[in-house]
């Protein structure tokens, strides 16, 4: 039997990897991947706990919502990345430290 703890540990590992990617990567797209990893870790948790709610299925439904929202954020994020690239000719977030034009 797979216990909840197993899922939680896996998701923790994924979460940490995502975290690492967000903090250390110099490429906006990779950062985006890191974010996705974290989201997935969260979704994994939702799904794992959702196992114990047969009636309302809250875990699974919110996992669905999260997936959808992830898609939305990715779309927006990519749009922003594209725009940034166009303006600064780079997608390294460290180089983009000016709020003004």
């Amino acid at each position: 039997m797979i216990t909840l703890t197993d899922f939680l540990v896996v998701s923790a590992v994924l979460f940490c990897i995502g975290l690492y990617m967000i903090v250390s990567k110099r490429n906006a797209i990779q950062i985006l991947i890191g974010i996705e990893l974290i989201l997935n870790a969260a979704i994994l948790n939702l799904v794992a706990f959702g196992k114990y709610d047969k009636v309302n299925n809250s875990g699974q439904i919110f996992a669905l919502f999260a997936i959808v929202l992830a898609a939305a954020t990715t779309a927006v994020a990519l749009a922003i990345i594209l725009n940034v690239y166009r303006r600064y000719k780079t997608i390294d977030p460290n180089d983009i430290n000016k709020l003004r034009d």
Binding site: G18, M21, L44, L69, A70, A75, L78, K89
Partner: protein, 182 residues
């Protein structure tokens, strides 16, 4: 050791290793493709958590939507990005990434600590759920139930997310237009 368990370890191993590879790889394209693998492995894990529908959605939206989108964006961004990426130094643990690794490791320890302390399997509501038979069993079909729930109990969030999704897509489309036409 049941087959399920073996499967679980196998899948989670793939997920973690591929995620690590994606994180450590200097090559953007590679990390994107390895990320596919992670997503697939995760989908497998969802299945093992008895959430077939979520697993399917995961594959459809993530693998089919988001990843394609990312690849698309990457390819749009042109040659310079690739050049930048190639210049990066190839060592896995460099001085620059050390704080980040440390941070991640520490976070992991903390999380692990929290997880172990929480003892998720013996939480009161989980115990209650088991005792009330409110647990999803492997042979139960949950898709109907999800559908019903979506349209009834979670209708409002569902609608809100739909609108949000719409707005996000419109916004994304607007943003990614050529500037000259704006």
């Amino acid at each position: 050791m049941t087959l399920v368990r073996v499967l679980f370890y196998f899948l989670s191993f793939i997920a973690i290793v591929s995620a690590l590879y994606a994180a450590s790889s200097k090559n953007l394209v590679r990390s994107i493709f390895v990320f596919f693998v992670t997503l697939f492995a995760l989908a497998g894990l969802y299945v093992l958590a008895l959430a077939d529908f979520v697993a399917v959605t995961q594959i459809v939206i993530y693998v089919g939507g988001i990843l394609v989108l990312i690849l698309f964006a990457f390819m749009l961004s042109g040659k310079e990005t690739l050049n930048v990426i190639k210049q990066q130094n190839s060592r896995i643990i460099s001085l620059k990434t050390l704080p980040a690794i440390l941070l991640a490791a520490l976070f992991f320890i903390v999380l692990l600590n929290v997880v172990l302390k929480a003892d998720a399997d013996n939480l009161p509501w989980i115990r209650e759920s088991i005792s009330l038979k409110n647990e999803i069993t492997p042979n139960a079909i949950m898709i109907d139930n999800i559908g019903v729930n979506l349209m009834t109990r979670y209708l409002l969030p569902f609608e809100a997310i739909s609108i949000l999704l719409l707005m996000a897509l419109v916004g994304a489309a607007h943003l990614s237009r050529k500037e000259g036409k704006a």
